[in-house]
C-alpha cells in the first residue's frame, strides 16, 4: 500500500515550506499558502492517487499563490518582455569571470551572495527559477503550472537566471569596491 497523503506531506514539508517562503517572502503568508495548497492537493490526490505527489503539491502551491496574488491586484507573471522582444542568449555567468572553481573560497563567497539576492528578484522570476532550477522541472511542466506556453517559461527561466547572476554580480562588485575604499 502506498503512503498516505499525510505521510508524504510530512516527508516533503520542509521543501514545500521553503518554496512557499521563497514565493511569498513572508513567513506568515507562506504558512497560510502551504495550508491552503495542502487542502487543495489533498482533494486532487484523493481523486487520482497515481499522480506524482510532489508535482501535485507544487502545482497546488503555485496556483494558490498566483490566485492569492491576483486577488491582491498583483500578477507575478505580468509580461516581462515586450512582445516580440528576443532575449539575447549571451551573457549568463559573465558577471563572475573568471568563474571560481567549486570548493574554492571565491566559489563559496559567490554561492553566499547568490543565496542572498534571491529576495531581490521579481516575484515571477523567483517563482520560475524555483520550479526550473530547484525542482528541476522541464519548461513544459513549468509553463503548465504557471499558465504560460513552454517557450515563455523557457525565456522567463533564462531571464531569471540572468537577473540572479547580475544581481549577485552587482552585489559582489559593490562589496569589493566598498572593501577597497575602506
Amino acid at each position: 500500500m502506498g503512503q498516505t497523503f499525510e505521510e508524504l506531506i510530512g516527508l516533503h514539508l520542509d521543501d514545500l515550506y521553503s518554496a512557499a517562503l521563497c514565493f511569498t517572502q513572508d513567513a506568515r503568508r507562506a504558512e497560510e499558502l502551504l495550508q491552503q495548497a495542502s487542502i487543495r492537493a489533498f482533494h486532487e490526490y484523493r481523486r487520482a492517487r497515481d499522480q506524482d505527489f510532489r508535482r501535485t503539491m507544487l502545482g497546488a502551491l503555485v496556483s494558490t499563490y498566483l490566485q492569492s496574488e491576483r486577488r491582491l491586484g498583483r500578477d507575478p507573471l505580468a509580461p516581462a518582455t515586450a512582445p516580440g522582444e528576443e532575449i539575447l542568449y549571451a551573457t549568463a555567468g559573465r558577471e563572475f569571470e573568471p568563474f571560481p572553481d567549486p570548493g574554492t573560497p571565491g566559489y563559496r563567497l559567490l554561492r553566499n551572495w547568490i543565496g542572498r539576492v534571491w529576495s531581490l528578484l521579481d516575484d515571477g522570476d523567483r517563482l520560475i527559477l524555483w520550479l526550473a532550477d530547484v525542482e528541476r522541472l522541464r519548461h513544459g511542466i513549468v509553463g503548465e503550472m504557471v499558465g504560460v506556453p513552454e517557450e515563455e517559461a523557457r525565456d522567463r527561466h533564462y531571464r531569471a537566471r540572468l537577473m540572479l547572476s547580475q544581481a549577485a554580480g552587482r552585489a559582489l562588485s559593490e562589496r569589493t569596491a566598498g572593501g577597497a575604499e575602506a
Partner: protein, 268 residues
C-alpha cells in the same frame, strides 16, 4: 547556425535533451567555438550555484501540527462514499456471506499480512505507551470528544463502559497514520480503544472484519478476537476507520466490551 542560435538551442546547459539534427549541429558548433563553449560552461556552473544557494528553511513545528489537523478535518468532512452501517438492512443472503467473512477474517487475521495496522502493531503501541506514560489530555468525556475533533476531525464521544473508568485520551501514530486512543481502567485492569482513520475506503480482503457486512441475524461477533504480544486484541473496521480494543484482558472480556464500542463508533 550562428552563436545566438546555438545558445538558444543548447540552453539550459544542465538539461539532457533528445538528440535531433538541430541539437547535433548546435553541439558541433559549440565544440569548436570558444565563445559558445564558455557560455555553456558558465551556465552549467551558474545552475549548480543556484541550486546550492537556494534559501531553505525548516517548516515550523506549529505549521506541521496545524496542517495535520486541517487535513484530518478535511478527511472527516470530505464527501465520499461514506455509507453508514445499519444492522438489519442487509438481506439474509448477505448475512450468510457475512458469516463466511467473519470466520475467514478470524482465520486470516493473525497472519498479519495486511498493509493496514496489524493486531501486533496495535499491541506494540499499547506496550510502548505503558512504558513511556505518554499522556496527552485529560479523561473528561467531553474534552476527549473535543480533543479528537480537533486532532483527528472525528468527534468521538468515548462510550461509558460499565465497570471501567475513562482515564485519558492520546494520539497515536500507527504506520504513519494519526489515530486516537482512549484508555480505560478498573483497578489493576486496563485497556485501550484505538481509532485509526484510513486514507481511502477500505477494500474488502480476507483478513478484515467489516461491521457493515454483518446482518442482525448473525450471531457471530462482528469483530476479530485474538492475542498478540500477550495482550487481548479485538479488531474491526468500517469504510474509513480501523478500530481495536487492546488490553491485558481475557478474550471473553474483550468480547463483552467490543459491542459497546462498535455501537458508539457507528454513530461517528
Amino acid at each position: 547556425m550562428d552563436c545566438t542560435e546555438v545558445k538558444r538551442v543548447l540552453w539550459p546547459a544542465d538539461v539532457l535533451r533528445v538528440s535531433d539534427s538541430e541539437l547535433e549541429a548546435a553541439l558541433e558548433h559549440a565544440e569548436d567555438c570558444p565563445d559558445c563553449g564558455h557560455f555553456l560552461e558558465a551556465d552549467r556552473r551558474l545552475a549548480r550555484l543556484i541550486r546550492e544557494s537556494v534559501p531553505r528553511e525548516p517548516a515550523p513545528a506549529e505549521l506541521r501540527e496545524r496542517l495535520y489537523t486541517a487535513l484530518a478535518r478535511e478527511r472527516a468532512g470530505s464527501p465520499g462514499p461514506r455509507r453508514r452501517f445499519r444492522f438489519g438492512r442487509w438481506p439474509t443472503v448477505a448475512g450468510a456471506l457475512a458469516v463466511g467473512t467473519v470466520v475467514g477474517a478470524a482465520i486470516y487475521w493473525w497472519g498479519g499480512q495486511g498493509a493496514m495496522p496489524s493486531a501486533t502493531a496495535f499491541a506494540e503501541d499499547y506496550l510502548r505507551r505503558v512504558v513511556e506514560q505518554e499522556a496527552l489530555v485529560s479523561g473528561d468525556p467531553q474534552e476527549v470528544s473535543a480533543f479528537f475533533a480537533r486532532e483527528l476531525g472525528v468527534a468521538l464521544p468515548p462510550p461509558v463502559v460499565p465497570g471501567y473508568e475513562l482515564q485519558r485520551a492520546t494520539i497515536c501514530l500507527m504506520n504513519g497514520r494519526r489515530g486516537g486512543v482512549v484508555e480505560y481502567a478498573a483497578g489493576d485492569r486496563s485497556f485501550s480503544y484505538y481509532l485509526v482513520p484510513q486514507d481511502r475506503p477500505v477494500t474488502r480482503r480476507g483478513n478484515r472484519v467489516d461491521v457493515r457486512m454483518v446482518d442482525d441475524s448473525v450471531t457471530d461477533p462482528p469483530f476479530a478476537l485474538g492475542r498478540a504480544r500477550g495482550l487481548g486484541v479485538a479488531t474491526w473496521w468500517d469504510e474509513e476507520h480501523r478500530h481495536a480494543l487492546v488490553g491485558d484482558l481475557p478474550v471473553a472480556e474483550l468480547e463483552r466490551l467490543a459491542p459497546l464500542f462498535i455501537d458508539a463508533t457507528l454513530r461517528l
